[in-house]
């Protein structure tokens, strides 16, 4: 029996990369999972359901849009009956050196990576408050802590997540809801594949554990923070980075 058996989870940005690994891990631990992405992924949901023996359902959701989030989350909570776990993972990059960064590129990253965390958290808060228990795990980034040239927008959004995580942890603590963040280091995904080779090599050479991270490394940490084992942990920022930020 998995450590999340019977739990109902929502994972944003779940169609690929770290989000997909998180959804897969939570499902493999016995949770029913709503996977959110920009378009509906019926086949993926059906495959995960069949392989892992839990309910996995796909929903299209623009997590930066307030009304959409309200409507979709209402539907998900009605479909699943409740929500125990929210993983705010959705994120995009629009890298560029600051002097050349367009307003739209700054705003889009803040909206999708930071505003979404506010909107999705608000959309589950009432249900979790009523239950007097809940787990919220936000995916930040090592670049929120260290900065990264060319990522003023991304690093600002991910650092904003850390402030929100700590505030929400304090706000929700009396209701048994924990809020934590994970700061992944250099993880091999489609998103990091877009980085240039020089940056990738520079990173890899600096990682004390000697390898680039896997999405599953992040997913394992999420599953722990989402479980009952982590009931006394809140407001924390957990680095999953092979020691990169040690």
């Amino acid at each position: 029996m998995g450590k999340l058996t019977g739990k109902k989870a929502i994972v944003t940005g779940a169609s690929r990369g770290i989000g997909l690994a998180i959804a897969t891990k939570l499902a493999s631990e016995g949770a029913d999972v709503a996977i959110l992405s920009t378009s509906v992924k019926e086949e993926l949901a059906a495959k995960l359901s069949a392989e892992l023996g839990v309910q996995v359902k796909s929903y299209a959701c623009n997590v930066a849009d307030s009304q959409t989030v309200q409507d979709v989350f209402k539907q998900i909570i009605a479909d699943m009956g409740t929500v125990d776990i929210l993983v705010n993972n959705a994120g995009i990059t629009r890298d560029g050196l600051l002097m050349r960064m367009k307003d739209e590129d700054f705003d889009a990253v803040i909206a999708t990576n930071l505003r979404s965390v506010f909107l999705c958290t608000r959309a589950v808060a009432r249900t979790m408050m009523g239950k007097r228990t809940g787990r919220i795990v936000n995916i930040s980034s090592i670049n929120a802590l260290r900065g990264q040239a060319g990522q003023a927008n991304y690093a600002a959004a991910k650092a904003g997540i850390i402030g929100m995580t700590r505030s929400n942890a304090r706000e929700f603590a009396s209701r048994g809801i924990t809020v934590n963040a994970i700061a992944p280091g250099f993880i091999g995904t489609d998103m990091t594949a877009a980085m240039d080779d020089a940056t990738k090599e520079k990173y890899a050479a600096q990682i004390p554990l000697g390898r680039i991270g896997k999405p599953e490394d992040v997913a394992n940490a999420v599953a722990f923070l989402a479980s009952d084992d982590a009931c006394y942990i809140t407001g924390q920022i957990l680095g999953v980075d092979g020691g990169l930020n040690a």
Binding site: R126, M129, G130, E171, S174, R175
Partner: protein, 80 residues
């Protein structure tokens, strides 16, 4: 709705949200001192009242809810 009906409905919401007994909810009961509501409870209560009475309650109105009678008076006005 009569004042009595409104009071009964509010009492039901308070009992469900604040885990107090119905007989302890009186018109003069204060949310903080008598009913043990903290700031989160108050927000939850206001949202539950909005659902139960199908009205919108602005934060500026909710701030003025000190006693149960304040809510009854507010909703009487709203449901006229």
């Amino acid at each position: 709705m009569t004042q009595e009906e409104i009071f009964q409905k509010i009492t039901d919401v308070i009992v469900a949200k604040l885990e107090v007994k119905a007989e302890d909810v009186k018109m003069e009961s204060e949310f903080g001192n008598d009913l043990g509501a903290d700031s989160l409870d108050r927000v939850e209560l206001v949202m539950a009242l909005e659902d139960a009475f199908e009205v919108e309650i602005l934060d500026t109105d909710a701030e003025k809810f000190l006693k149960v009678s304040d809510v009854v008076a507010f909703l009487e006005e709203k449901k006229k």
